[in-house]
Symmetry: C2
């Protein structure tokens, strides 16, 4: 018989996808240039030319097993060596190729990470605002996702609220910094405090806790900041990375799970990820994509447009009376709506062709997300719509 579980999920269409569909339909009516679609987190800047060159070079000069043969269980060895070397050099880490497991983006990395450290019946704690797909990631692995309410003044961690939710069934904490949807970046101080808190809880419960770090926006930082590398702070960290945003290649499905060697058995954990893969049919990713992302793992796309858009929107919207935690990175911001129900607020905005995502889907129903991965001209042209919208409705 067909699975009732997956059938029942069909009703819950993604709010973001529905909004994107509405925006597309409206664009056909009045022209795409007149719809200010801030719904989707789809990179708007091109990939580095070197990335396409790396792919084309492999596909032009190699054939058969060399270009198209199976990868090893962990992934292509040279790709993993290059990635480990890059992480070690940039973040003063100590990874070996055996600590890196190539995955289908951060989604693949997270699916493996959860299965590595949590069994059905366990709990995983995350922090609002959070990426909505965390819920199926946890629940379809048989785990409950517990959400710590947001600290809306700065989107750092609300430790009192974390204390209240914490219990011995929790096996892992799942964090996302730089954060989708808020653009907040956890400070070194926040991460140090989190690590101390986790050490204390491990001692109290008498079992290990794992930190799952979802970090696809690691390199998209504003004001010339350098990345704070989460795994530096806590030994039992599973770093879940994606090249989707750093190289603007979400369709290529490339990422990795990096097991912190400080945990003491990182090689074993990485090999266990290969076993997880046997159950979920993940079985590595396109071999030459692995090699090309590794060749470009020290590069990024040009992110200056995201920072320009952020500054423009932040300035204009705060002037219009919005309360916003200024993003430190990503291509999102997460202002408070101008009425308590952000869903109603977003419906009114849509009447002015401003397509915004209500915050309920991220666990904060009073706020809304703006994805400003679009050209600056469009952001500039949207300002007038923002002004008219606020004047007309509030």
């Amino acid at each position: 018989m067909l699975s009732k579980k997956y059938r029942s999920m069909l009703g819950n269409a993604s709010v973001i996808m529905e909004l994107a569909a509405f925006a597309s339909a409206r664009a056909r009516e009045i022209g795409a240039e007149n719809v200010f679609d801030f719904s989707l987190g789809n990179p708007s800047v091109p990939e580095p030319r070197a990335y396409d060159d790396a792919l084309v070079s492999i596909l032009t000069h190699e054939t058969g097993k060399s270009a198209h043969g199976y990868s090893q269980g962990l992934g292509n060895r040279e790709a993993r060596e290059r990635i480990a070397e890059s992480l070690n050099r940039r973040f003063d880490m100590n990874y070996g190729a055996g600590d890196i497991f190539m995955t289908s983006g951060a989604a693949g990395a997270l699916a493996h990470a959860i299965r590595l450290v949590a069994q059905p019946g366990d709990e995983i704690v995350t922090f609002a605002p959070f990426f909505p797909e965390y819920a199926p990631y946890a629940e379809l692995a048989g785990c409950a996702l517990r959400v710590v309410p947001a600290r809306t003044e700065d989107f750092q961690i609300n430790f009192n609220a974390l204390d209240e939710i914490m219990n011995p069934r929790v096996q892992a904490l799942l964090i996302n910094t730089p954060n989708n949807p808020s653009g907040a970046v956890y400070s070194a101080e926040t991460l140090r405090q989190l690590a101390d808190w986790m050490f204390a809880k491990e001692a109290e419960y008498g079992h290990e806790l794992w930190l799952i770090s979802d970090e696809p926006y690691r390199e998209i930082l504003f004001d010339g900041q350098k990345p704070v590398y989460v795994s530096k702070f806590y030994p039992r960290t599973l770093g879940c990375y994606s090249f989707s945003k750093s190289l603007s290649i979400p369709g290529d499905r490339a990422g990795y799970l990096a097991v912190n060697p400080a945990c003491g058995e990182s090689r074993t954990v990485a090999q266990m990820a290969v076993q997880v893969s046997r159950g979920i049919g993940h079985d590595s990713i396109t071999a030459y994509v692995q090699r090309a992302v590794a060749a470009c793992c020290d590069m990024t796309s040009d992110f200056s447009v995201y920072e320009r858009n952020m500054n423009l929107l932040y300035g204009e919207l705060t002037a219009l009376g919005f309360s916003i935690v200024r993003p430190a990175g990503t291509f999102y911001m997460f202002p408070a709506a101008l009425e308590p129900d952000a869903a109603a607020f977003c419906r009114k905005a849509a009447r002015h062709d401003l397509i915004l995502v209500p915050g309920e889907t991220f666990g904060v129903p009073t706020h809304f997300r703006i994805a400003y991965c679009t050209d600056t001209g469009k952001v500039e042209r949207s300002i007038d719509a923002w002004r008219k919208f606020v004047r007309a409705e509030y």
Copy 2:
């Protein structure tokens, strides 16, 4: 805490991978040309040139979202349309793009198929000899894999043995034709008999049964045979296909799940597969790989070397006294060993630098697998080793 389940799997290294490692080590000692490694099912013929051309064309002429943007949940729409059209034309089917779900090879398709039709606690029936990864596919989805003993005289279905294993907890039958490791192809008569048997069991149990058809070797057929398309025979069939063997691109990880429209709700089932994906982090595959395999879905590599190798080995080995069901396709054969314990037989063969896989791993401990996806010169040179081996040991 780290998962005990996945840790416990670490001990069970794949017999095939161990043999391949042994063969590599021996090759470093005496030269690769002197080791007759028949262990791995890795295509030895090159991919069609048109496939690389399709990839290079996309990567050279397109940039940003066009080449590297997200795919839809089911996969790239044009790719799915082309694949559906090809299946309809070649096999007189009635697929729409909405019935095709792009996957990471047949492994990805099988992982989805099992979750679509079986819940934890259910059973899945397969037929010896079978691909050993079926066990983790089923068991890590919480299901038990029940194995019907082989009908060694022709490797068609042993219906009496199937009757004995069948029970109401079984939700799906998993077949693989053309078969790895036997090279047997189910006849239309076998498939018709299987469908009738399944209809009768559905009536008896009062619940639907699904047929999961693992068909990566669909086009590798000998003696000018045409494929027998499994879904033609039974409405509730989930076709699990891979381009790994047909285009010789196992490292590209491209395949699809084709839901038979005759089941009456194929669109729903395909959309349910997208939901399964949300839990296992599968999230589609490389976008331009989807487009390139679809552009080449009517082509195959040149398989003539496999047929030449099969005829050569079949002739020589039967002359040496081996009992073999002559393969009708694939690049495998599965002879009976010359002593009851095929593992002992394979250890003796390894002393003569013939690397063969004992059949226990496929559920038939009296037989062994030869993977003859290698150049014909090597097969020819191996004949002397076969003769010496048989003369010396038996």
